[in-house]
Each structure stands twice: as C-alpha cells, then as structure tokens.
Amino acid sequence: MLKAIGVGSVDDLFAPIPAEYRLSRDLKVPRQMAESEIVDYFRERSRENGEGYTSFLGAGAYAHYRPVIIDSLISRGEFLTAYTPYQAEISQGTLQSIFEFQTMICELTGMEVANASMYDGSTAAAEAVMMAVRLTGRRSVVVASSLHPEYREVLATYATHQGMPLSVAGFGDDGRLNVKELEKSITPETAAVLIQSPNFFGTIEDVAAIAEIAHKHGAMLVVSIAEAVSLGIVEPPRQADVIAMEGQSFGVPLGFGGPYCGVIATREKFVRQMPGRLVGQTVDKQGKRGFVLTLATREQHIRREKATSNICTNQALVALMVNIFMTVYGKVGLKELAKQNLAKTAYAAAQFAKHGKVLFAGAPRFNEFVVETGEDPYAINSRLLGHKIVGGLPLKKFYPELGNAALWCCTELTTRTAIDAAVRLVAEGEGSVRLVKEEAAEVVR
C-alpha cells in the first residue's frame, strides 16, 4: 500500500504534523490486554459494584425486568453497527422501528407527536422548556421543587445563558405541588410551568388543576415523566403541552446512570419548534411505503446557529430497547406490570407505616414513597448494607427540610421477603430510637 501511495514509510504520511508536536514516546495507558484479561478486569470491577445486593432505590433510575429478547435483537449487527439513517434506502429497519417508537410514545403519553429520542429525561426536560420559551416568546419558568433535583440542576445549567429566570414552587403536605405557591410564582412573563408526575416522591400530581392555572396565565405546561412504567396504570398528563420523558424503565439497564433514553412528545402544532430527529412516512418512486428522517430544517446540520437545538447524536439503540420492551408488554402487559408495581408499593408502604411515618399519604402514589424515621437514614442504610440490602435514598442532600426521610421504591422485582427484611431492619433502629427517647423523657421527669 505504501508503494501504491508512493511514500517510503507510514511516518511520511504524518509529515504534515510539525515535528515538534509529534509524540516520540508510548502513551502511558495500560498495556495491551488479551480478551480474557479484559473480561477478568471487568468481572473484578463488577464484584466491587453492588453485585448481589437487593435494592430499594428508584429516584429516576428503576430496576425492572428486562425481557431477554431485547438484548438478542439489539445485538444484531444491523442495528448495533449502523449509522444515523440518513441514507433511507438502506436504513429502513432503523427508520421503521423509530416510526413505531414514536407511535407508541404518542399512544402512551396521549400526545400527537414524539421525537426519535433525546439524551435522557433531564436534558429532555431542559430542551422541552426551551421549546416553550420559543413558542410563547416569554422567558421565565416556574419549576416544581418535586421535580427530580438533578433535572432541576440540568435545567439551571441550560437556562443560565439563555436569560431564563427560574423560580421554584414547593410541595404541600400531600407531596403534591403547592398550588398557592404556583399561583404566586406565575406571571405574565411565565413561558412554562415544569412539573414531574409521578413526582420525585412518587406522588401523582393533579395535572388537570395545574394545567388550568398555567393556561389561564398563557403559560405552557411541561410535564416530566421519570418512571415510564407508571403509564401502564396512571392516566397520562394529557393536559400538558409538552411531555419530557425518561424511557429507562422500559427495558434499559440501570447501568450506573446511563445510557438512558429521553424523549419529547407534544402537540402537532408545536412540532416545528421541537428539537431532535423525527421519522416520517412517505412513498418511493413506485408508490411503496417507506420512512425518512424529516423536518430537518429544525436541525443543526441545516440551520446551524438558528437550529432548535444543537443535538445530533441521540440515543437510537436505547430507543430500540424501549421500543422492543413496549412491544413485548403491549396493551395488556404494561397495565398488569404497572399494577404489580402498585401492589408491591402499597404493601411495603403499609408495612413501613407500622414503624416509621410514611409521608404524603393524602395523594395517590405509584411505586415510590417517603418514610420518615427517628433514626438517621444513613445509619439505617449502613445496617441494611450489612445484610446486602440497599435502603431508600436519604433525602437530606436534596431536601434538608425533610429531615430523616428517605425515598423507597418497589417494582415488580421487589419480593415480599425483601420488603419484610428491610422493614424488620428499619424497625430495629426505630425501637432503639424510641427507647432512647423514652429514657431521656424519664430522666427529665
């Protein structure tokens, strides 16, 4: 090949790089490893990473069963190793599957159009809000404090340089958005109200009431859905103008936080302000049905600095996992799956209520609930960890006002045995906390 090119050595091909910048030593990276060594290395890391623990964590990342056919199908090289389907004639597989994905997201969310995916739920929420800013010509945003705290942080980052003032509306005793605070925060400058339902505490919001307030003031309602399985049994936020979803629950591994699958769904009339790729149906020269990427004039490769977003690469293969999951469970299975989540959570909440205080009982919840204990939840969790159980997420870090509260999650994979064991271990601590309190009270007397 060198001869064909007409150079003496490979180094001659690097001559355009000025000699003083060329690296004359080996990179200091691990030495070349055999495949067996690589596998061993990652197995070792796996053992250091919670392998074999039972977990009650949710909070935006949910452990649901993943049907095995998801991995069989996404491992096909034709899906795994294909590029973005710009060349439609040899990408009909990817394109049709995205079209089906868009359709099912619409069916589940009650929206009219959905895009091909965003990075994740947090960035989808931020981009959905920016979409509302463009559509309303207004700039400020009211955010529910019961939106996932890390989603709020991401929105704050995106908003900083867009001149988008954010204000926060808190939650009431039932864990739902405090409507009075919303009324107070909303102004004629409010472009969007952003809430999550089920919210960060697992509480289902009264979306209709919130939509009414937002719309009365000419603002758009953006609803974030972090737990997609809820859509099987919880009425979707049909009154929303934009839905920003995280699809992880639908067959995507927890994977220490990613890759996940964001998606934005909205009304047809707003589609031209929507970020991200869209697949549309059309016909070929013979009139045969086919699919193409469409409405690209919204996108960066056409519009450059005037695009609706800078997004290019999305989460296509993860969207395919979500797509296959939705297809497997379908119309009946999703409902039954969601019902099992509901039942496990109702049982667990009732058991915990015997020993600690389950907060926000006044409103319906899906598969998460908040337990307030006398004992510090970090102390509880280190005791549980000794029994290979990962307890609920202590909320102090995000909500100091909630004190010793933790967010617990149960899915269809949580067994009654695990729930009973966790409750027993929490109760041990509560018993001794009570004892200490009683003794202290006695000393005072």
Partner: protein
C-alpha cells in the same frame, strides 16, 4: 447496470408491516410471576388518576416480535456488513468484547445512587478511563458527563464562558471556520454566543491573516476541528493558538477527527485549551443507528474549577468518591454521571489496543485514507491537494458535467454493496464526496470500493441515467422527502 458487481449479490428479503398491523387481542409475549403481596384495587388507590385504556398499543407474540425486528434489521446496512466510508463519522469496527463486558452483572445493573462503598468498581472505571483520555489528549482534566459530541461542545463552551466570566468579561462571540460541523454554530448559540465565520485559505486551512484580523477581545474562543473536515492537519496550529491566546481567547478543538491523532500527536501539546472526544467515533462504541454517543470534555488546568459536578476524587481512606462541592462549577449537564455504558466499552477498547495498538490504529487509518485517495485521484476531482490524514474529500466536478451529482454517485454506490460516503459536506467543497475508511478496512475491501467508484465514474460517462435513477437494488427506491416534510406523517394511526 454492470454485469458483475463483485461485492454484493441481490437476494430475497422478507416483507414486514408495522407492528400495529400484526396486533390482535389476546396475543402476548409477556408473563409476570404470581403476586406475593395482596392484590390491590387500582381505582381505589389512584381514583381519577387511574388509567383505563392503553389505546392502540400492540398485542403480539414473542416469535412475531423476533421476526418483526429481525426482518427490519435485514433492511439496514451496517459496519458488520461492509465498509462504511462516512467521512467525519469514523465508522470503525465495534469489538464484541466491549458488548460482553458492558453486560457483566454489577456493571450493567449498578444503580447510580447506590452507596459509594459498593460503587468502587464503577468509580474505578470512571477514574481509569479519565486518566487514559487525559494522557491521550495531553490535557490536564476531564469530565465524562456529556452524552454526545454536541453535548460535549456545549459543556466545553459553558466552561469557556465561565472562565471568561471569572476574568471579568464573558466576551461576545465564537469564531468558527466555514468548514465546521453544524453542531459548532448551533452550540455557540445555546451558550448565547454570537457566531462569526472564519474563512479557509486556498489549502483548506485556517486563513491566518483573516484570523489575525478577526481576533479581538470580544472573541471567547475559536472552535476548530483538527484535522479539519477536509482531513487536513492545521499545520499552523500553534500560530493559531498564539493568536488566540495573545488576545486572551481560548482554543476549542472539536475532537471528531481524533482518529487521525491518537498516539501520534496530542492536542494538549499544540495549544488546545478545551476539546471534546466522541467515544462513539474514536473509541469504538457502537453508533447504534444514531446513538448513544458519549462526549467527554478534556481541559487545561485553567478551566478545571468550572468542570460540571460531580467529579471523581480519591478520598483520604484510599477509596474513590464523588465530589459535589465545587462552587465555580458550570453545574450539571445531565442527570447522574453520563453514558456510563459507553465508558466501559471505550476503556475495553483502550485495553485491547494498549499504547502500540492505539498508535497502529491511527497509522492504519491514515494509510487507508491515502490509499483511497491515490486510487481515486484522476477519476474524481480533488479540490485540495493538501496532504490527507484520516479522510479525503473529492468533489463531483467531473461528473457534474453529465448532470450527475455527489448524491447520485452515493446512491449508486449502494447498488455496489457499499454505504455511501458523506455527501455535500464540508460546505466549502461544492458537491463534496467525503471518504473516511478508518483503520478497520482491509486492502481487499478498499480495492472493491475503489473499483466500484471507478466503475460508477465510467457509468456516468456511458449511461448517466443509470446513476441518476439509483439505487436499483434496494427494497425501496429513492423516497419522496419533500412530501414527507410538506405533510408530515409522524405516527401510525388505525384506519377509520
């Protein structure tokens, strides 16, 4: 049509409708275990929030699902089928060991909020990959949080802005060469910077005189792809950096073309202050039909205080943990820690290569691009004769005389069994054919490609209509994109 196409033969493939068209009540591919807790009454628990109906969600059996997606998959081209010469996309082989290790139990199923004590494996992976990427780029620090290249660009420019802000002036604009990828200007707009175009010179490189004239204290940074989108290394890169630095500006490098540099030269050594990498290009994580990607951003020391939170740190007891308390941080750009599964794959790739393999990879990628350039020179117009690194850009000038444009040649290439190259980009080359073979291709595969391209050029002379009507061998012929955009049908609806 040519009598003999060596690379591909037409064969039958299955028709398949939309999944909704196969659905009927009672079919199912799922089974739940019996409940071990009492049943609940959903309407009692949820009241008016209870959902009664799931609309037109499908009901199908498992074999139908397997066949559905398998059939769809056979309609795709893929790296696993053959050379995928998309310029600037770096469609290299995606090693299967990467997929295997990403699915190991504790790696695939780790929860992002599980206690640090039982997350040491994941933290170790984050730290090791970070160290490797810092060494490869010659930078000082890194964030792995951005989910893709464009997201990395945004993160990088947020840090640029925060840095200038800390110096008392956020500045107003970003300089972007006319050869740049569309995400660059779109990103600058998201970070509220104005975009100013920078012209290329006659060799396809940054016009130094123009840069000097345009550089001012209003310029926050120059976003430069190096090698640029013509596959040309910016030989005056240090001069460029000096011009920027003299006026307090920063040099941002779009690392899309890092596959030309790994192990041979480090951006940190030639004056770059901030850059993103595309793990789905240079580091072999699969494109998956458009994602997921991963866009780590490597930076010089001066930008370190502004890194997104959290960052991985070693704690006094020797274990690893996350640090959140970083007052000057630009904030979070994504929930959790980024596309962790892609970090696992990228690290496995680095391990499989080691220092020698990484250098060899780069050398092979550059060798392959030059081999293709030599093979097609003369047959296709080469608008810039500047030396080629990992990709080569031709134009359709010679074929346009017969009314055949780059997109037509690309579509005809499909009939020859190849995925098209990148068409009509970079914008500075009218009718561009942008070809990047990567290191993955053998001489035999590239010879077939060159042969196909030459054969198409002959067809253009003898029978241009065949090329204009291509592709002839695909399931669908050219699709009506105008109709798709004029009356968008973006979802299936049941017939009424």
């Amino acid at each position: 049509m040519k009598d003999m196409i060596r690379k591909a033969t037409r064969h039958i493939n299955q028709n398949e409708g939309l999944i909704f068209e196969k659905s009927s009540a009672g079919k199912a591919a799922w089974k739940l275990p019996p409940l071990d807790v009492p049943e609940v009454d959903a309407s009692q628990l949820l009241g008016s929030s209870e959902r009664k109906d799931l609309g037109n969600m499908p009901e199908v059996s498992e074999i139908e699902i397997i066949r559905h997606f398998t059939r769809l998959s056979t309609w795709n081209y893929a790296i696993d089928l053959g050379m995928y010469p998309l310029g600037s996309c770096t469609m290299k082989y995606n090693p299967r060991v990467n997929e295997a290790v990403a699915r190991v139990e504790g790696i695939a199923n780790g929860h992002p909020y599980q206690p640090e004590k039982i997350s040491q494996g994941a933290l170790h992976i984050l730290k090791t990959l970070s160290e490797c990427l810092i060494e490869i780029t010659g930078m000082d620090a890194i964030t792995l949080q951005p989910a893709a290249g464009a997201h990395g660009e945004m993160t990088g420019l947020l840090m640029v802005r925060a840095y200038h802000q800390s110096q008392g002036n956020a500045r107003k604009k970003i300089l972007i060469p006319d050869s740049a990828h569309g995400t660059n200007p779109a990103t600058a707009a998201m970070v509220n910077y104005a975009v100013e175009n920078l012209k290329s010179d006659s060799r396809g490189m940054v016009d130094i005189a123009a840069l000097e004239a345009q550089m001012s204290e209003d310029v926050a940074a120059l976003m430069l792809t190096n090698p640029n989108t013509l596959g040309v290394f910016e030989q005056q890169i240090h001069k460029i950096a000096d011009i920027l630095h003299a006026k307090g500006g920063l040099l941002y490098m779009d690392g899309a073309n890092m596959n030309a540099l790994v192990g041979k030269v480090r951006p940190g050594d030639f004056g770059v202050d901030v850059m993103h990498l595309n793990l789905h290009k240079t580091f072999s994580t699969p494109h998956g039909g458009g994602g997921p990607g991963s866009g780590p951003v490597a930076i010089k020391k001066i930008l370190e205080p502004f890194l997104p939170t959290p960052v991985v740190v070693a704690k006094p007891d020797g274990t690893l943990g996350f640090e959140y308390n970083r007052p000057q941080s630009v904030g979070r750009v994504r929930a959790f820690y980024g596309n962790f599964g892609m970090f696992v794959r990228a690290l496995a790739y680095i391990q499989a290569n080691g220092p020698d393999g990484l250098r060899q990879t780069t050398e092979d990628a550059v060798l392959n691009a030059n081999y293709i350039r030599k093979g097609l020179e003369g047959t296709y117009d080469l608008p810039y004769s500047t030396p080629t690194m990992h990709e080569v850009v031709f134009s359709d000038k010679l074929q346009a005389r017969k009314g055949v444009r780059t997109m037509d040649i690309a579509k005809r290439l499909i009939d020859y069994g190849f995925h098209p190259y990148t068409t009509a980009f970079p914008l500075i080359v009218p009718g561009a054919l942008m070809i990047e073979p990567t290191e993955s291709e053998s001489k035999e595969e590239m010879d077939l490609f060159v042969e196909a391209m030459k054969s198409i050029a002959e067809e253009v002379e003898e029978d241009p209509q065949t090329v204009l009507d291509a592709p002839h061998s695909t399931r669908v012929s050219r699709l009506d994109e105008t109709a798709a955009a004029r009356k968008p049908v973006l979802r299936w609806k049941p017939a009424v």
